[in-house]
């Protein structure tokens, strides 16, 4: 485990930068009450204070005089929570469906793939908006909405990998030895598709953060929570004069998603068994 971590960090500067970004965001999310004691919904100062003008509100205030720094720090909680929940839920659903389709093939595969196409031809953001609009904007509903639209891409990836592995000699060997399907699937096939699936977690998490932001921007987020998306939404009206109100949360989203993507790349290198041979 420690060796793996060391190899991951040595795999290149990108992975290191990515993990540092994620650790900072994670630290902000966990330590939010300590790092930013102001409630992000409280009015703490004059409105429209530019960043750097007032030391008590380092990143300035919005049009209601709410602390942007607090918003960013507390918003990290929501973003990470939704990102990781959606990433993990989507990946698990996609993993199970994709592995079953790829391993059993035939009509199971055909059915699953036609259903996944049904979801893929729908604009995913619109579908998520519809789900959240109907079911309410709690975090679990948002995660559900993202998972419903996100699972097909994971399932397709896993299915393709499973196909490749299923025809491999070691799966044939397991069949010759008379192992049950469940043993072959869980002991021989799944461990070998896990690597790309783990990488998918970070990719889906990145897009989930973007989706949540889009929902919040459109006013479909939870009004009692300050998120990066809702901050951008709020700053939209004064974009021409007080552009920092959108730029700062925008940068937070950009950097976090970048961090996730860099970590995903690093994991891909780490989990690829062929690279392990070389290392």
């Amino acid at each position: 485990m420690i060796r793996a971590a060391r190899r991951f960090l040595r795999s290149g500067p990108a992975a290191v930068v990515g993990s540092v970004i994620l650790l900072v965001v994670l630290g902000a999310a966990i330590g939010a009450p300590l790092l930013a004691p102001n409630d992000p919904l409280d009015i703490v100062s004059m409105p429209f204070v530019w960043p750097g003008d007032d030391a008590t509100v380092p990143l300035g205030t919005d049009m209601l005089g709410r602390d942007i720094y607090s918003g960013i720090v507390h918003g990290a909680r929501v973003s990470l929570e939704i990102g990781f929940l959606a990433g993990i839920v989507t990946t698990i659903v996609g993993l199970i469906i994709g592995a079953a389709a790829g391993y059993f093939g035939g009509w199971i595969d055909q059915t699953v793939m036609r259903i996944s196409e049904l979801f893929q031809i729908m604009p995913s953001l619109l579908l998520t908006i519809a789900i959240v609009a109907v079911m309410g904007s709690s975090i679990s509903n948002i995660v559900f909405g993202i998972a419903v639209t996100g699972w097909p891409q994971v399932a397709r990836l896993v299915r393709a990998e499973t196909f490749r592995i299923r025809s491999g000699d070691f799966v044939q060997a397991a069949r010759v030895m008379g192992f049950a399907h469940s043993r072959i699937l869980f002991r021989h096939v799944l461990p070998n598709v896990l690597a790309p699936a783990v990488v998918m977690v970070s990719i889906v998490a990145g897009s989930a953060i973007l989706t949540e932001s889009a929902l919040a921007f459109l006013g479909l987020g939870n009004p009692n929570l300050v998120t990066w998306g809702s901050m951008i939404g709020a700053g939209r009206e004064v974009l021409r004069s007080e552009w920092y109100m959108t730029a700062i949360p925008g940068a937070a989203i950009f950097i976090t998603v970048l961090g996730l993507s860099l970590v995903g790349n690093g994991l891909n290198g780490l989990l690829n068994p062929r690279r392990n041979v070389a290392a």
């Binding site: 000699d169 070691f170 044939q172 010759v176 030895m177 008379g178 192992f179 002991r187 392990n276 041979v277």
Partner: protein, 640 residues
């Protein structure tokens, strides 16, 4: 010009068990005028933490009209040498030093632009895999024409005429119709002919062939070797032939260079090198090469002779003790096995024909006996093996293990009987789960089927590792930490875990290097002797088959055309196909070189038949006790 030996190449690595006193063995002096002259070539690849030398200061030359073979096992640096000469290695991850003189020009000092003019024009290359060498979306005429267009300033009509001439030159029948065909419409041998035609387009001074026949069947291989020899004489070019196959070397090369671990260990005239190999590695290599006919006079399978690692002296050929125990019912009996697939039928298109992959195949395997199933790709030998273990479901026929039909009845009921038969696959890299350590992999079937406790199963796995010649502490390692030969040993240990009485070895040694192949074959024979295991040995390599088998069944177009004791089938072949197969096997003895014949290429016969095809009734003619042959040769039988 003489051989230029870099000092680095003179020092033989102490770890390569050089015989004392024998450093380098140069049998002769190179011809006076050389086309290619390589001096002190060192090629390195970027590896973790620096550069790793793969080719270590080698020097050799290729004279005019001469065929020089570089022979070596995987990792010897032979292919890297070829790619270095062509400068086809990625510049960012590799570097070459030394001199590569092509007709006096140093290729390593040329600009990439100059090099592009030289490739194809002065030096051409033929690769191993003809399907991936050709562009699948261009017709073969267009691809050959492209080579002409780039390097020779010809008009459209002239290009077409020249392309047709080249297709004729490589003996592709009805070239005019083939002109517009695409690579997937051609057989492997035809594709390799197209690749050769492309290489010939500009009449290069030097032709580099990197394992050009390795992916081909043995009869096609013989044709391609003949073609290369003929073409070389014709356009008066030199050939640098990279191969792992000593038989091919003996067949084609004027001079031979033996490479080991990036260095040249021996070079010389092919005839002399084969007759009196100096370096211990060459001796070991030659001892490990299976020779068809080397088993004459022996009744039972025999191990490959061992080579003394210090002196290089050959040990005796150890014949296996008699293990065959015929009984009624026999261990395995296959009766009238039939396996057909629909072909070329899509969702909306009707199937045009049926593949008769296995047609009415019957044979028995006795306890402790090895039956070899030989034939070329697509003859149905693997499908037969796969249906016996249940990986493929036959359309008709019976598979009886100790008299019980395991195809009939519920799978659970026949499981204990089925466990009597295990399988080893061709690819040692693919047949182990990369994420499971070797000890767990071997213990798994013991836990699942024999309900052993985990600790007991682990102990047994360690015992099995010892049995196949691996050390017990390797149990904790993962497959990627093993070499190809070691992995195949692990697969054998795993197959033995259920104490099977028959092991189906599907091309189990085909992917291994010669010396490793000999070791694994010897291991299989040891196991047969100590455990009385029977083998169904599926292989296209008749020279290996001769060594391991008690009986041989020859398959052709899904049917067994000849079956009998090994000495009878090989010594007195009756079916024309068996004869053709035996004649095509390259002999690793330059004195017995086949006369290069200018045969028309043979198209592999297809097993696709029309939907209404009814296979004819077959009768077998008895030649000798236990030796049977198809009474009436097939209607498309070869005119041999």
């Amino acid at each position: 010009m003489t051989f230029s030996w870099n000092t680095a190449s003179l020092a033989v690595d102490a770890s390569t068990d050089a015989a004392p006193g024998i450093v380098h063995a140069a049998h002769e002096v190179a011809p006076s005028k050389s086309v290619l002259d390589v001096q002190g070539l060192t090629t390195a690849f970027r590896a973790a933490g620096g550069w790793r030398d793969v080719v270590k200061g080698i020097g050799f030359s290729v004279g005019e009209n001469e065929t020089v073979a570089i022979v070596g096992e995987s990792g010897s640096g032979k292919s890297v040498t070829a790619l270095s000469v062509m400068r086809l290695l990625d510049g960012s991850s590799s570097r070459s030093a030394g001199k590569i003189l092509l007709q006096g020009k140093d290729l390593l000092s040329l600009s990439e632009r100059r090099m592009q003019q030289i490739r194809g024009n002065d030096v051409a290359m033929i690769f191993q895999e003809p399907m991936s060498t050709l562009n699948p979306v261009l017709s073969i005429g267009a691809q050959i024409g492209e080579a002409l267009l780039l390097h020779r300033n010809l008009s459209r009509d002239a290009i077409k005429a020249e392309t047709l001439r080249l297709l004729d030159r490589v003996r592709i029948p009805s070239a005019r119709q083939r002109f517009d065909e695409y690579p997937h419409q051609l057989s492997g041998g035809m594709r390799q002919r197209v690749v050769i035609a492309m290489a010939l387009a500009c009449q290069p001074k030097l032709l580099i062939a990197d394992e050009p026949t390795t992916a081909l069947d043995v009869t096609i291989q013989a044709e391609i070797l003949d073609l290369v020899a003929e073409v070389q004489r014709d356009i008066r070019s030199s050939v640098l032939f990279i191969t792992h196959d000593m038989g091919v070397v003996a067949e084609i090369a004027d001079r031979t260079i033996v490479m080991l671990d990036g260095r040249i260990v021996e070079h010389g005239r092919t005839a002399e090198l084969f007759k009196a190999p100096q370096h211990v590695y060459t001796r070991r290599l030659l001892a490990a090469v299976p020779r068809l006919g080397s088993m004459e006079g022996l009744q039972r399978p025999a191990r490959f002779p061992t080579v003394d690692p210090i002196t290089g002296a050959l040990g005796p050929t150890a014949e296996v003790v008699d293990t065959v125990a015929a009984a009624h019912p026999p261990l395995l009996e296959v009766r009238n096995l039939v396996m057909r697939f629909r072909s070329a039928g899509g969702l909306l298109t009707k199937a045009q024909g049926r593949v008769h992959a296995v047609e009415n195949v019957s044979f028995i395997v006795n306890a402790g006996e090895t039956l070899a199933l030989v034939g070329e790709s697509g003859c149905g030998k693997s499908t037969t093996g796969r249906s016996i273990v249940g990986l493929a479901k036959p359309n008709a026929g019976q598979v009886l293990i100790e008299g019980t039909d395991v195809l009939a009845g519920p799978a659970a009921a026949t499981r204990p009987l089925r466990n009597q038969i295990q399988m080893i696959f061709q690819d040692p890299y693919g047949s182990l789960n990369p994420r499971m350590n070797v000890g767990d992999a071997i213990a798994e079937p013991i836990i699942v089927h024999r309900h052993a406790r985990k600790s007991e199963a682990r102990d047994e796995a360690v015992e099995l590792l010892r049995l196949v010649g691996l050390s017990p502490d390797m149990a904790a390692r993962y497959p990627h930490e093993f070499s190809g030969g070691q992995r195949q040993r692990v697969c054998i240990a795993r197959a033995l875990a259920l104490k099977p009485r028959l092991i189906i070895a599907d091309e189990a040694v085909s992917a291994l290097d010669v010396s490793i192949k000999a070791q694994v074959v010897n291991l299989l024979l040891d196991l047969q002797e100590s455990l009385k295991t029977a083998f169904l040995f599926i292989s296209h390599d008749i020279a290996v088959v001769e060594r391991v088998s008690h009986r041989i069944a020859v398959m052709y177009r899904g049917e067994i055309v000849e079956i009998g004791p090994r000495s009878a089938v090989l010594g007195n072949p009756q079916h024309p196909y068996t004869r053709q197969l035996l004649a095509a096997v390259p002999n690793p003895d330059p004195d017995l070189r086949r006369a290069h014949s200018l045969r028309a290429p043979s198209e592999p016969v297809s097993t696709v038949r029309p939907l209404d095809y009814v296979p004819p009734e077959r009768a077998y003619r008895q030649v000798a006790p236990d030796h049977f042959v198809h009474a009436e040769p097939d209607e498309t039988a070869l005119a041999a």
